[in-house]
């Protein structure tokens, strides 16, 4: 899941400062689950902004909405209509960066601002705490490392760890950070496959990671068929 965190209201205020009709748009999927931008958080942000504008006796209309997923054009379509009907001047998206992109792309002439900072791919490790567990590097090697990702969990993203900075299971950069490789070693022990770590993982091809422009995944089976667009109404 994509994990995000709401931006401070003071920062959000600077984005929407100049508008009189603002839509706070929650996202009903990842940012709801990580408590950063669901319908409830949209209400809190809206409330905070209303209070803030009220103190300055400024008449600003703040509307709230939440859609199923901001990263799907079909769901975003409803927002387009709402923005028109309600004469919205600016949208604050509480979706992750993907949501902001797609909402902005869809609304074209209406500014769309990010209400959350998109942090990482992660999961709940204890109620209320999310941890980065995957770096989205595009070439998964979890089968070699006992299901624990060294790219995400090792501070140096080492492929053959641990390094000399491991201290009683913690990373030298902070006592709050587990050493990813210490975790891998412990897991491999439990699996009885510790000996596999003796094999050196060769230097990897990073071209699948954040290089060469935005990455794509294509599923031809649901892709638009050639000619389909011409026959459609659009």
């Amino acid at each position: 899941m994509i994990v995000a965190e709401r931006k401070p209201l003071a920062e959000i205020r600077t984005f929407v400062e100049d508008y009189r009709r603002i839509l706070i748009l929650g996202c009903g999927t990842c940012t709801t689950v990580c408590l950063a931008g669901g319908e409830a958080e949209a209400k809190v942000v809206a409330s905070g902004l209303r209070i803030s504008f009220l103190r300055e006796e400024r008449e600003v209309e703040i509307l709230e909405d939440c859609i199923t997923r901001q990263c799907e054009p079909e769901f975003v379509e409803a927002v387009e209509q709402k923005v028109k009907d309600e004469a919205i001047e600016a949208v604050l998206s509480l979706g992750c960066g993907v949501g902001v992109n797609l909402v902005a792309q869809s609304l074209e002439t209406i500014p769309v601002f990010p209400g959350v900072n998109t942090k990482f791919f992660g999961g709940v490790v204890e109620p209320g705490m999310w941890l980065e567990l995957c770096a989205g590097c595009g070439n998964c090697i979890l089968h070699l490392t006992g299901g624990i990702c060294p790219i995400a969990r090792c501070s140096k993203s080492l492929l053959n760890g641990p390094c000399g900075g491991t201290r009683d299971g913690k990373c030298e950069i902070s006592e709050d950070v587990d050493c990813g490789w210490a975790l891998i070693v412990e897991r491999m022990k439990k699996l009885g496959t510790l000996d596999r770590l003796a094999e050196i993982i060769p230097a990897r091809d990073w071209s699948s990671s954040h290089h060469g422009g935005p990455r794509r995944v294509i599923h031809e089976e649901v892709a638009v068929l050639s000619g389909e667009e011409e026959t459609s109404d659009r």
Binding site: P8, A10, A40, I51, R55
Partner: protein, 693 residues
């Protein structure tokens, strides 16, 4: 063909209390009205379900309490006493309500024979439905056995009178001292213009025993005895009284005899203590009053001297019922005992008095029993219906009320549509027992105890032995209700299956399969999941904050306009700390002028972060949250969850440049009356300082 009656409640899953109540009183709504200080609404609810609510507040056998799910945690909610509280707290309102014009009566007349709870309930309903009911009562006092047999230490006549006055105010005419079958013949009622007749004569006579010596002087039948005991010339009893029987009438007779001066009262009954048909609490109170109960004995013969009773010979009862549960007592004739007695009161059962049928065509099914159809309530004669104990056999007052309602429906249908209405017996579906694992997590709250008069004081006269709840006791008792079936509901469309509800539910009942679900038979309606749901997908069936927000929207700006120099504080207060509504009503009326807007919330931990910010949105300068007193929260973890949300709201204020100190959190100390105003003063003072800076 008789038409099948439909009940719109069939598909709803009820709380066990409501399902168990013969008239299906919405007890949870009743309790909620009480908790909110809405006693008049509670009264309306009660009277709509049961015109004998004052009576039932005293003597109901309260099947609601017997089925209360709280029993698994500690003890059932005292619903019968709560009902009594409502009736006592609203006497003035009830008086004024009675003086309002009743809806005009129609022309069609119905005759009801018998003014007990079933007859008068039917009459009341018929009047409300636009008929002109006339009730005939053979005794000089209305109320049936309630007025003419039940001892006053359980049920003062003034209480019965309250209920009957309401019924009369609806336009019901009650003619006492008129015996149908003697003074007027049943069939003549049709000639007098009555379109339908209801026989609701109850079981007013006692059965007797066929044993040797039963005709001796000093032997009394229970119901005539109880009737005379209510008269200005109560019966003279000897020092030693034996009561034969183990039911409620026997208990009434024994306790009445004790109060009439009998030194030694002994009850003889066939049943073992557990099998006795009298209510358990009545049996305990009887024993407390020094009445000996000899269980598993049957009467063998009366011995007398010169025709005056001297005692009773007993034989051991070895079994009361046969293997199929039918009454078939077995005795061991070799195991005998004797009790001396100056009087013997026979309370082995009741029968109907069918004098009213004299000269009519209505068939009898046996001694004192009228032939009737239990679904249409019709007797063997067209236009003549029967209800209540005369046809159903002995039961409780509230069951009689229920049958009265049915009779009114049957007659209304017959007169209105010209056909019979079938009303089959229905059992309302309910949520069942409280699961053990949930029960173990519920906070134990002892019931508001009401001590009865001391036994030695009780037996001196017929003073009522139980007092009603004080307001504080009633409010404390009402908050013990588990609010069954009013729990959280998740909106599948909105739910993101985030598991927040599962993680924070203090009772471990929330589940997520594809979406969240809070099983109604387990959910305790604490609302913590709803307050925390990031998708705003969860709502409580009976709690929302929209109304409160609308109120603030109009109230706060108006106060700011009126008193621009005083800082305005909204105070969310735990309603459960209320010990009397007077204080809250006064606070709600007077404090806004001083800049404080108290808002009562049934558990402030139900407020979400957005709810906590809402006062500031409408211009309030500060917020004071007053939770319940230390250790008295009903819901585990609720306070910590609330405090986390308070911190969240404070940080939002800080993010937009407002002082966090504008939000104060207090816990009630002592009581609302003692501490809340002090908190408001302190917070307001602090806020003035902040605003000065």
């Amino acid at each position: 063909m008789p038409k099948e009656a439909s009940l719109d409640t069939e598909t709803i899953i009820h709380a066990p209390c409501t399902a168990a109540c013969p008239v299906h009183t919405d007890t949870r709504q009743l309790v909620e009205f009480i908790v909110n200080g809405r006693y008049e609404d509670a009264l309306e609810l009660l009277l709509a379900a049961n015109p004998f609510s004052s009576v039932c507040g005293r003597i109901c056998n309260h099947p609601c309490e017997q089925s209360c799910r709280r029993t698994k945690v500690d003890a059932p909610v005292g619903l019968r006493r709560l009902k009594r509280f409502v009736m006592e707290a609203t006497t003035d309102y009830r008086q004024s309500r009675r003086q309002q014009d009743a809806p005009p009566l129609g022309k069609e007349r119905a005759a009801i024979i018998g003014s007990g709870p079933s007859g008068l309930t039917a009459a009341n309903d018929l009047a409300l439905q636009g008929y002109r009911p006339v009730v005939f009562e053979k005794f000089p006092t209305a109320g049936g056995l309630l007025g003419n047999a039940i001892p006053r230490y359980r049920l003062p006549y003034s209480v019965i009178k309250e209920d009957i006055e309401d019924i009369v105010a609806q336009g019901v005419e009650v003619r006492t001292g008129v015996e149908i079958g003697k003074d007027i013949l049943l069939d003549d009622l049709f000639d007098q213009g009555f379109a339908a007749i209801l026989i609701a004569t109850g079981l007013t006579e006692s059965r007797t025993l066929g044993i040797a010596g039963i005709d001796s002087r000093g032997i009394l039948l229970a119901l005539p005895f109880l009737r005379t005991a209510l008269s200005p010339q109560p019966p003279q009893l000897g020092a030693r009284v034996v009561v034969i029987g183990g039911g409620n009438v026997a208990v009434d007779a024994a306790r009445t005899a004790r109060r009439l001066g009998a030194q030694k009262v002994t009850m003889i009954c066939l049943e073992s203590r557990d099998q006795m048909p009298a209510w358990q609490w009545e049996i305990e109170e009887t024993a407390d009053e020094g009445i000996e109960i000899m269980n598993s004995w049957g009467p063998r013969s009366v011995f007398d001297k010169d025709g005056t009773v001297r005692g009773l010979e007993l034989k051991r009862c070895t079994a009361v019922f046969d293997s199929e549960g039918r009454f078939l007592p077995q005795f061991d004739e070799t195991d005998t005992a004797t009790v001396v007695a100056d009087n013997i009161i026979i309370a082995i059962g009741q029968r109907g008095d069918v004098t009213c049928l004299e000269g009519s065509q209505v068939n009898l099914a046996g001694e004192g029993r009228i032939t009737w159809d239990k679904e249409t309530l019709l007797t063997s004669t067209e236009g003549i219906f029967a209800c209540g104990e005369v046809v159903t056999g002995p039961g409780s007052a509230v069951e009689a009320v229920f049958d009265g309602h049915r009779a009114a429906k049957a007659i209304d249908h017959y007169l209105g549509k010209g056909e019979l209405l079938k009303q089959p017996a229905l059992e309302l579906p309910h949520i069942g027992d409280l699961p053990d694992e949930v029960a173990s997590k519920i906070t134990v709250l002892s019931p508001s105890a009401v001590d009865l008069l001391a036994p030695d004081r009780r037996i001196k006269d017929f003073s009522e032995i139980e007092r009603g709840f004080t307001e504080a006791e009633a409010l404390a008792e009402a908050r013990r209700c588990l609010a069954c079936t009013t729990g959280a509901l998740a909106d599948e469309e909105k739910c993101a299956a985030c598991l927040t509800c599962v993680r924070i539910c203090p009772f471990g009942v929330a589940t997520v399969d594809k979406t969240a679900a809070m099983p109604q038979d387990e959910c305790q309606a604490c609302g913590l999941c709803a307050a925390q749901c990031p998708a705003a997908a969860i709502a409580l069936t009976r709690f929302g904050t929209n109304q409160m927000k609308e109120r603030l929207q109009t109230l706060v700006p108006a106060i700011k306009d009126r008193t621009p120099t005083i800082p305005v504080i909204v105070s969310f207060c735990c309603l459960f700390e209320m010990t009397g509504r007077k204080f809250v009503r006064e606070a709600e009326a007077t404090y806004p002028e001083e800049g404080v807007v108290p808002i009562m919330i049934p558990c402030v931990a139900r407020l979400s972060a957005a709810d906590l910010l809402s006062p500031f949105e409408v211009g309030a300068d500060g917020l004071v949250i007053i939770a319940c007193s230390e250790g008295s929260c009903l819901y585990p973890t609720a306070e910590d969850r609330l405090l986390a949300r308070v911190r969240q709201a404070k940080s939002i204020l800080a993010e937009i440049g407002l002082e966090e100190e504008r939000i104060d959190y207090w816990k009630t100390q002592g009581s609302a009356e003692v501490s809340w105003t002090a908190f408001w003063t302190l917070s307001q003072k602090k806020l003035s300082e902040i605003l000065k800076d």
